[in-house]
Symmetry: C2
Amino acid sequence: MKYCGHCGSKGDYHIPEGDDRPRFVCTECQAIHYDNPKMVVGCIPLWQERLLLCRRAIEPRYGKWTIPAGFLEIGETVQDGAKRETFEEAGARVEDLKPFALYNLSFVGQVYFIFLSHLTDGKFHAGHESITVQLFEEHEIPWNEMAFPVIRKVLHQYFKDASKGRFNFHIGDIAPGINLS
Amino acid sequence: MKYCGHCGSKGDYHIPEGDDRPRFVCTECQAIHYDNPKMVVGCIPLWQERLLLCRRAIEPRYGKWTIPAGFLEIGETVQDGAKRETFEEAGARVEDLKPFALYNLSFVGQVYFIFLSHLTDGKFHAGHESITVQLFEEHEIPWNEMAFPVIRKVLHQYFKDASKGRFNFHIGDIAPGINLS
């Protein structure tokens, strides 16, 4: 950020009085502009012992597999955001959302919040950000073709819990360059 | 927002191509500026069957009681953010953080994420945003002097779970003007 969104003047980064970290501060109107982490909300959508993955039609990681997830928008709940992303990317309606995991990606200022969910009617289709969407059993999961480490981690956790027949809420941190394969 | 943070030109709100909601878009450099919800992270700090509350020394709700909580910062995990806020506002070190509740305050673009925690050594003192900090047993809680409905809600949930001897992870929505007293 170089200019103040309120008045259009130049600004710079310094620690405002009473604060303990640098913020972007306008040199004219003195407005302080805060930058905070964003939430990414998504689902593991389940249907008859299988789970729904999307093959990405966009960069980054074009052609790789992921669960439906995206940035939470102003005015929506995390549940509604996860449902919206699931419909947008996988054309699927989901219900019975159960909080499953939070993962910190603090090196990119993101917090992933993932639900378990069930498809309402078993219908799905590729949204405009997906090449295709497909139901997978555990042995069919394309582990080496996952879009992001956080997706691999949440799916590993899902199958670990599933093998015990008990799903808890999990919290974890993803490090830069982590390789879980 | 009126001006582009990248180039300082004027912008306006409209729906960019391929999007489905209005964003602030620069009329000159065409940069799209996204505004997303912020996370507020905090703790219920416990010590010998009592919990620690802070009496606010700042507006809004000066003089009212709250748990230590504040905006998550770039570069930190939700656990570290909750620990930092607890030290800043209550002068207390906490450990054994356990995810306890997520509350959507979608009408103000905030998501609260609250942990249960234990004081490391029983020490605490008022930070500069607190008039005083104090340990309370359940019957001592100043229910009518709570700073925000979300704080009343999370404490009610805590005592409800405590009465059963079992703490689950909770998710809920706070409506504007909700009155839980």
